[in-house]
């Protein structure tokens, strides 16, 4: 092979994509700083991280593979109930709950993936919605297991690593959630910067071309669907464990729609968009919705309409455009 010695080596444009950059490190440093800066809002912080992980799992499907799902809450809910039931049954060790939740959600994800690969368009939307509604109904019917409308009670968590008990101020919850979310984020990050991740983007960009370059598209979709479900399950488990409660709401259509909105708000296909979208959405909702829930609904709807029409890349997309604009001005000088 001819050694490439030119500067601005094009090969590096592909090889270097996965490198950790300064803004990323700053982001995670900030999440640690939050622990010290906002000691009264750590429960909210934990929920933001959990929702961010949930949105991250959806980004793998929507942002990277180009699939639309209105039913991602199915996996979130399965994970939440799995972890909750395990704790309720007496085994309150947190990490086992996560593992069980991931496994359960992955199984459901794998099963649904076989349905998903056979449909497109509105049929896919309906099937994703249908699976979630079915699970919701099932959870409702099996109220003697799930607690039904009253929710799952008696979810008591043992201390994390045997040392850090879950406290009322959410301090353990926040650091626990942060650790888990960061680990899951690194997993997702590794995934999207791998050859597999590149093939997902290929599926998103042109599904017709994929078989023509020798790519088994259906198998890839099944794999990413299962992985995405597992991550969503972990997020659901975190919710169950940090709030020590699971309600039917975790399987609701509202949750599926909400996570999709959050992802668009932050920007798809960028991983960080999911986290930033979750932060903005949840903090925003906390501030605005308590004042007047109607107005929140209206402004949320309006924002959605405007984002789709004018700011398709969401917050991160807007930032990228801004940066590009600034760079162009700088180069022009």
């Amino acid at each position: 092979m001819v050694p490439f010695v030119r500067s601005g080596n094009p090969v590096l444009s592909v090889l270097d994509k996965g490198r950790w950059r300064a803004p990323e490190i700053a982001f995670w440093a900030f999440t640690v700083a939050v622990f010290f800066l906002f000691p009264d809002h750590l429960m909210l912080g934990a929920q933001v991280l959990i929702t961010g992980l949930f949105a991250l799992s959806l980004d793998l499907l929507v942002g990277y593979t180009g699939l639309v799902s209105l039913g991602h809450a199915a996996f979130f809910g399965v994970g939440a109930y799995a972890a909750g039931l395990l704790a309720q049954a007496g085994w309150g060790e947190p990490f086992s709950g996560l593992a069980l939740a991931a496994a359960a959600a992955a199984v459901v994800g794998y099963a649904s993936s076989h349905l998903i690969v056979r449909v497109h368009g509105i049929a896919m939307l309906m099937i994703t919605m249908g699976v979630t509604i079915l699970l919701h109904e099932l959870a409702n019917r099996l109220s003697w297991i799930t607690g039904g409308d009253d929710g799952l009670q008696g979810v008591t968590m043992a201390p994390v690593l045997g040392l850090f008990g879950f406290d009322l101020f959410g301090r353990t919850a926040y650091l626990y959630a942060l650790g888990v979310v960061f680990a899951m984020f690194c997993l997702a990050r590794g995934l999207v910067n791998s050859p597999f991740g590149l093939s997902l983007r290929g599926i998103r960009e042109n599904g017709r071309r994929m078989p023509a370059i020798g790519s088994p598209m259906r198998s890839r979709i099944r794999t990413v669907y299962t992985m995405s479900a597992a991550l969503a399950g972990v997020a659901g488990a975190l919710l169950a464990q940090t709030t020590e409660f699971v309600s039917l709401e975790v399987l609701s259509f509202q949750r599926s729609a909400e996570v999709l909105i959050i992802l668009i708000l932050g920007g798809t296909g960028r991983l960080y968009g999911a986290l930033i979208g979750a932060a903005v959405f949840m903090v925003g909702r906390d501030l605005l919705a308590s004042a007047n829930p109607q107005y929140w609904f209206f402004w949320l709807g309006l924002m959605l309409v405007l984002v789709v029409m004018f700011a398709r890349g969401g917050i991160l997309g807007g930032l990228e455009n801004l940066l590009r604009f600034v760079q162009r001005r700088r180069n022009a000088r």
Partner: protein
């Protein structure tokens, strides 16, 4: 026993035709433009609230509010289509889903603001209340009225589609939009007109349905799943498909609630998933 079967069937058909009225337009416009419109329920809601306002504030008789609901909703839909929807025909599914969800949220908030969050009470005129003796069982007069009205509308729709030039253009545009355009059909006009009729019918359905399924600001969200269910099972672009699917859904739902209330909505969605796997394009869909 027989009376109850007939009764369940009758009620199921009444619910089914109401669903058809509301979802039929959605099927045709989705089939024609491939546009996922989750805000269709908002038009139905608008028709309902209009009827309520006209009756309550202006004192109009119920029957007169019906064509008014149709016309006004159709007019509003034309404005919405021209200003908003048109920009998104080329956008992907995800964009259309999110955009129309945004519209739904705005309409729900708007309705709550103007009319309040509770169910709208309506007084049906006396000749539409009460029971009618039909084939040996007591049928609700209102449901009978619903079936009759829907029957007339369906007949008009089918006649329009099959025997008028405009109807032929609609069928052509649903079948192959690009080809229709190439043949000189003004597809934009056909679409706007179809969208208007479809939304107008939804508004009519919303007005007619207050007495049956109620009306509150959460209407578009609560019923959207049913519309999508009917449309996807029936097949996009097919009036016949939507009618069959709506009747099926109406009867199954009513029968289910009557005979097997523990199953809830479970069977309905299980059947939907099953049908879509067997026929992803719906029972009467294309491709």
């Amino acid at each position: 026993m027989f009376e109850s079967v007939l009764g369940v069937l009758f009620n199921g058909v009444a619910y089914g035709v109401l669903l058809f009225l509301m979802a039929g337009g959605l099927s045709v416009t989705m089939g024609m433009m491939g546009f996922v419109n989750l805000a269709h329920g908002a038009f139905a809601m608008l028709g309902g609230y209009l009827a309520v306002t006209l009756m309550g504030v202006a004192g109009w008789p119920f029957l007169v509010t019906l064509p008014a609901a149709f016309a006004a909703t159709a007019a509003v839909s034309v404005v919405a289509e021209r200003t908003l929807y048109r920009r998104l025909y080329r956008a992907g599914e995800l964009d259309q889903v999110l955009f129309t969800i945004g519209l739904v949220f705005m309409s729900v908030a708007g309705a709550t603001f103007v009319w309040g969050p509770s169910q709208q009470p309506v007084q049906m005129p006396p000749y539409l209340s009460g029971q009618v003796s039909l084939f040996g069982f007591e049928a609700s007069a209102y449901r009978l009225f619903l079936i009759v009205v829907s029957g007339i509308v369906t007949a008009a729709l089918v006649f329009g589609l099959e025997h008028t030039r405009f109807g032929a253009q609609v069928r052509a545009a649903v079948d192959n939009r690009r080809m229709a355009y190439g043949l000189g059909i003004d597809v934009n006009f056909v679409f706007t007109a179809t969208f208007a009729v479809g939304s107008g019918l939804a508004g009519l359905g919303g007005a007619l349905g207050i007495n049956l399924i109620g009306l509150d600001p959460a209407f578009p969200i609560k019923n959207m799943v049913y519309f999508l269910l009917v449309v996807s099972v029936g097949g996009l672009g097919s009036i016949k498909g939507t009618l069959v699917a709506a009747l099926l859904l109406g009867i199954c739902d009513t029968a289910g609630k009557y005979y097997v209330p523990e199953a809830g909505a479970f069977t309905l969605y299980a059947v939907m998933v099953g049908v879509l796997l067997w026929r992803p394009a719906g029972l009467f869909g294309r491709r």
